[in-house]
């Protein structure tokens, strides 16, 4: 198959291809986490990799988040390029001390001596009725921390391409994979490879309102945009891709064009990433606004188990459409 031929694949398979690619090209890379080897990965991302690369490089760990995340940091300090998989963002709280006080901090605290070229992958988000302790979206929390970078691949191209770039980065990078995306179907060219991890992408151009989102809510937002098109409201959809640092320019260029912004964020509303983006739009694009920025966020409740309640707590297309209508006035 030549480079430009496309093949049907899924987000999960694209992520697997990215990991395989990294393991093949750079023998400093190894994957470490719970059930990544024998089990094939909780979400089947690393299925088959153990057979291909062996137990040293596809390393199963016990349930010791703090220890194995810290070990990833230590290995990175010593020159490796580990990919640490924390099963979900919910369990990352057990490793928060290592991430915050070591990974994010060592470079600055040592006066520039200690690089931590570590990648941490985590599954995130809600929508599968797994209740309060398994449904968090904490990307916004992590974007608060200076010293790390935070990514949210929402497309197959990004699932395939962000990992390599992140592994080459001299600083710790967190990659959040929304659980609802793994089964997403699409196509990739055979030569699909590394992509940049700095810029946001305009997924749908429009002129009337800027819809700004990331990760799992991208598809919902695009669906909302299609609905609005039926009402002659032309929505521009921006996929942030990089959550820290944010691509301010793409955001403000869009708002300069549309004069209205609606931010869609699955995290809880108070102190959210949406709040940060809203503040930046106020600071940098106040004079371009014709209406206050709107935020469509997760309801501030621990996620309940029943389906209808969970759906009510998550940002849905209806809420996005309503927010746009308020903004357009």
């Amino acid at each position: 198959m030549t480079g430009t031929e496309t093949m049907k694949t899924t987000y999960r398979e694209a992520m697997r291809a990215a990991i395989r690619d990294a393991l093949q090209r750079d023998d400093r890379v190894f994957l470490m986490g719970e059930d990544v080897g024998r089990y094939g990965g909780c979400f089947a991302v690393s299925l088959g990799l153990l057979d291909e690369f062996g137990p040293e490089r596809i390393r199963d760990t016990p349930l010791s988040e703090s220890a194995f995340v810290g070990a990833g940091i230590g290995a990175a300090l010593a020159g490796m390029r580990p990919i640490v998989e924390i099963m979900t963002v919910n369990f990352s709280l057990l490793a928060l001390d290592q991430i915050m006080n070591n990974a994010a901090t060592l470079l600055h605290m040592s006066g520039g001596q200690c690089n931590v070229p570590l990648v941490i992958r985590m599954t995130t988000g809600a929508g599968r009725q797994v209740a309060a302790q398994h449904s968090h979206s904490l990307e916004g929390w992590y974007t608060h921390i200076p010293g790390i970078k935070v990514l949210a691949p929402a497309t197959l191209t990004d699932a395939r391409g962000m990992l390599w770039t992140a592994l080459q980065d001299p600083d710790p990078v967190l990659i959040f994979e929304h659980g609802s995306l793994y089964n997403m179907h699409g196509s990739l060219t055979a030569d699909a490879g590394a992509v940049d991890i700095r810029s946001a992408a305009v997924r749908r151009a429009g002129a009337d309102v800027s819809l700004i989102t990331y990760g799992g809510t991208l598809s919902t937002t695009i669906a909302a945009a299609e609905t609005l098109a039926g009402d002659n409201i032309d929505a521009e959809v921006i996929d942030l891709r990089s959550l820290r640092p944010l691509d301010d320019k793409t955001i403000t260029d869009s708002v300069a064009k549309t004069h209205r912004a609606v931010i869609v964020d699955e995290g809880w509303r108070t102190g959210s990433l949406a709040a940060e983006i809203s503040a930046r739009i106020m600071e940098q694009a106040f004079w371009d606004l014709d209406a206050p920025t709107e935020r469509v966020c997760g309801a501030e409740v621990p996620m309940p188990y029943p389906r209808h309640l969970e759906q009510a707590a998550l940002p849905g297309a209806d809420a996005i459409v309503a927010a746009v209508r308020r903004a357009v006035g």
Partner: protein
């Protein structure tokens, strides 16, 4: 690490003299820190190593420049024993750019990657995961290196300790766990924190060789550490040493010490590691009082010079505040 032998003396005697000098350097440095802190020249938190010198010096004799050290906030002794230049450690205490961490870390965050000294961690138990990671990297690359990880009896209560002991044994990692048991985690005595206070026994339950050592006797520490490191290098997996020691001063600089009796401190002071070795050397005619005095004076002179240099050194300009949040270039 070997140093020049004293003229005419047999190598063991010269070596002991060197050990004494290293311990005395740490002792005098820490004494100076008390003065400087009381005068308000060093700020923040300072955790003194007075009384524990034999541990840092003894273990350091067992490792090479290729091995790695991970330490805690009570790290001045480890840093100096490792060979971090006196000037750079003192400058770091003053927060100046000539400090080993560019002045950014202070007493609790000394780093020197060129000497494979990976700090300096203010979170109890926070360094253990780093040490197993470094050891993991060495093992994956087939290096014959050892990582020496220092921590206190307090860390044994943290979950990270147990996770790391298990992981190190499970993966056969070349780590020397050095538990400096000085009987107190800040103000909490060991017997009030642990149901089972025999720490070597506890460590052994994770599946690694573990034993207790008299941490006030630098020669005993050295002997035990050398044995453990040899075994690790030979592929014996992680080892654990419980170094039974004592800190003569408070947890950090001054505290009311309501948690222990003065008489207990006095008892332990009878086994002051510096005096212990000096006495032995006097008994075997390797050391005279004049020698000892001269050694101390020379060290005091070097420390005073380091203080002067630290005071004169520049502070980092405020404009550089956000440098090294991220790396300026790829590595």
């Amino acid at each position: 690490m070997s140093r020049a032998a004293a003229k005419g003396a047999p190598p063991e005697a010269a070596h002991r003299r060197d050990l004494l000098r290293q311990m005395l350097l740490i002792r005098r440095f820490e004494d100076k820190c008390v003065e400087l802190y009381s005068a308000g020249e060093i700020r923040g938190f300072v955790h003194l190593y007075i009384g524990e010198e034999a541990v840092a010096v003894g273990v350091n004799e067992a490792v090479t420049a290729e091995d790695s050290i991970v330490s805690t906030y009570r790290e001045h002794g480890h840093a100096l024993a490792r060979g971090l230049p006196l000037d750079s450690v003192m400058a770091e205490m003053y927060g100046k750019t000539s400090g080993c961490s560019r002045g950014r870390g202070g007493s609790m965050h000394l780093f020197d990657v060129s000497r494979r000294f990976y700090g300096g961690n203010a979170i109890v138990g926070g360094g253990l995961p780093l040490s197993i990671g470094i050891a993991l990297a060495d093992k994956l690359r087939g290096e014959q290196r050892v990582t020496a990880c220092f921590f206190g009896d307090g860390a044994v209560a943290e979950g990270e300790f147990h996770e790391c002991m298990n992981l190190a044994a499970l993966w056969d990692l070349p780590v020397l766990f050095c538990c400096e048991n000085n009987l107190y985690a800040m103000g909490t005595a060991l017997e009030r924190a642990q149901a089972q206070t025999d720490l070597a026994l506890r460590a052994g339950s994770y599946g690694m060789p573990a034993w207790a050592v008299d941490g006030m006797d630098v020669l005993a520490v050295q002997h035990a550490a050398r044995g453990a490191v040899e075994a690790i290098r030979a592929g014996g997996g992680p080892h654990f040493l419980e170094l039974r020691t004592y800190r003569f001063r408070a947890h950090s600089m001054y505290d009311p010490e309501r948690y222990r009796d003065k008489s207990e401190v006095e008892e332990w002071k009878k086994r002051d590691p510096v005096d212990l070795l000096a006495c032995r050397m006097r008994e075997s005619d390797e050391l005279t009082d004049a020698d000892f005095q001269a050694m101390g004076d020379a060290l005091t002179g070097e420390i005073d010079k380091a203080v002067a240099a630290a005071k004169a050194a520049p502070a980092e300009p405020v404009e550089d505040l956000t440098r090294f949040v991220y790396s300026p270039e790829p590595i």
